[in-house]
């Protein structure tokens, strides 16, 4: 190879590399502005998490519906991972059949409120027969009954500046959804399972149901809902307790 050719190659490659770096910086800015960067984008797994979340949010409709099944497809028995909290406030609520249980919705909302189970049950009831897969690999089909989270969000009047819905549970779990999943028609506040009351082991009195994500995103034993525009100052700053255990914030997979 002649020397002029290799010099030209060097210059071309240099320009290509510089363009690549500039492109990455620009992409990062744009992705940030359009909400394509997940809260757990730091660390070694950040690039993969970000690419997956951004690709799905860019390429997919925000209102694509998880597959629905027939009642005859419902699994006869549903395994449970984890136990209900055995002490503290939850135990007292359970012993009084959740009579004094109320769920507050606060943060960046126009009308902070709190609802009892009966009040939630008087709201329009929705049902879905969907497949839920655990991150471990097993799965089941069940029929869930509840009120769409979007209905409760609209009652509270979400501020236009809010970007995430954060949920807290009595077992110490907390998590968050972006607005695409929070307002999704199959995202429920669930109080019933297969035609019955939601069993304690499945998250009574109220469980989040997020049909387009893995099971761990459907948080059990809900205690509080709050709206925020940033997850940086919430808990570990990664949008969920899951990253503390090595699991992703976004579990649409």
């Amino acid at each position: 190879m002649s020397e002029t050719l290799s010099r030209r190659k060097m210059i071309t490659r240099g320009i290509a590399a510089a363009t690549g770096v500039a492109g990455l910086i620009a992409a990062d800015r744009i992705a940030g502005a359009y909400g394509l960067i997940p809260p757990d984008s730091g660390g070694v797994w950040g690039p993969g998490e970000t690419l997956t979340y951004a690709a799905q949010r860019l390429l997919m409709s925000h209102h694509s519906m998880a597959r629905e099944f027939n009642r005859s497809d419902v699994s006869k028995a549903i395994p449970v991972s984890g136990e209900p909290p055995s002490a503290g406030q939850y135990k007292e609520l359970l012993e009084s059949s959740f009579r004094n249980w109320r769920i507050p919705i606060d943060g960046m909302v126009a009308r902070p409120a709190s609802f009892s189970i009966d009040e939630l049950k008087r709201m329009p009831m929705s049902s879905q027969i969907t497949h839920q897969a655990c991150e471990e690999g097993w799965s089941f089909i069940a029929e869930w009954h509840g009120v769409q989270l979007s209905h409760v969000l609209n009652l509270a009047g979400v501020s236009p500046a809010a970007k995430f819905v954060v949920v807290y549970a009595y077992d110490g779990v907390w998590d968050s959804l972006d607005l695409a999943d929070a307002y999704h028609p199959q995202t429920f506040l669930t109080y019933g399972l297969n035609g019955n009351e939601l069993p304690t082991r499945h998250g009574a009195p109220l469980r989040l149901k997020v049909a387009r994500q893995l099971g761990y995103k459907s948080v059990k034993f809900l205690s509080r809902i709050t709206l925020t525009d940033s997850l940086k100052s919430v808990g570990n700053g990664k949008g969920s307790i899951s990253p503390d255990y090595g699991y992703s914030w976004y579990a649409g997979i």
């Binding site: 997919m60 597959r67 497949h131 991150e135 699991y247």
Partner: protein
């Protein structure tokens, strides 16, 4: 046109590579990034299985339903499947980017058509038999006249059948992707069937890797490795 001046150069380089049987830079580069991603995917796939080493057929499956089969592995919860899944996706992205670059360059340079597409006469019973016989006797493992029919079929199968099916069966396990493309899971007949097929395909690909490395070793490890790193086989041929 500005780029027309570069075309003769590209053609010239391609010609030279043809003469020297040089492995193109992009093929070498993607070969090694893909190797890295393959190990990432294999290790993390194994880690994910540890959370639930049972496989099912159909839509659902769990500890309360009979498995198709179980692996004799310890069940390890809350650990390997966490970092396993993160590593799996990071590696998958590297694999997809490497694979796309390899595919585009293979089509654009006509490498697939010229080097991998078998000619009609290669399918004759006699030709197939002699190729299989050569392999069994470990004869003619280094050839200067390109890939033999078994190599062509193996590479075509892995590149155009196994890996696309691997990606599809992976997508089939994503509740968000199947909400947009339900057919991706329906073609398999269910979520758990897709998971089981994903596992079988992974085993097949690991077997391919073992065969691939074995053939490299038999054909002259140093020379083949140098060819895939520098583009040219080592100066001294280990086998004639």
């Amino acid at each position: 046109m500005a780029h027309s001046t570069y075309i003769p150069e590209v053609a010239h380089e391609a010609n030279q590579a043809q003469i020297a049987h040089r492995v193109p830079l992009l093929v070498r580069l993607t070969h090694w990034t893909f190797t890295l991603s393959f190990f990432g995917l294999a290790v993390s796939g194994f880690a994910i299985i540890l959370a639930h080493p049972h496989f099912y057929w159909g839509e659902t499956g769990n500890i309360l339903t009979p498995p198709l089969f179980s692996l004799p592995l310890p069940t390890m919860l809350g650990g390997p499947s966490g970092w396993g899944r993160s590593l799996h996706f990071q590696s998958a992205w590297l694999a997809v980017v490497s694979g796309l670059l390899y595919l585009i360059s293979g089509v654009a340079s006509r490498r697939f058509r010229n080097e991998l597409l078998p000619a009609k006469q290669e399918f004759s019973l006699g030709a197939l038999r002699s190729c299989v016989a050569d392999h069994l006797r470990l004869n003619r493992l280094v050839q200067d006249d390109g890939y033999n029919i078994l190599q062509k079929l193996a590479y075509l199968g892995v590149v155009f059948v196994a890996f696309p099916l691997m990606i599809l069966s992976g997508f089939a396990m994503s509740p968000s992707i199947t909400s947009v493309f339900p057919w991706m899971v329906e073609v398999f007949g269910g979520h758990q069937t897709a998971r089981t097929i994903h596992f079988f395909l992974a085993n097949l690909l690991v077997l391919f890797l073992l065969a691939h490395v074995t053939m490299v070793a038999l054909a002259g490890f140093t020379s083949r490795m140098m060819a895939m790193i520098t583009g040219r086989p080592a100066a001294r041929k280990e086998m004639q």
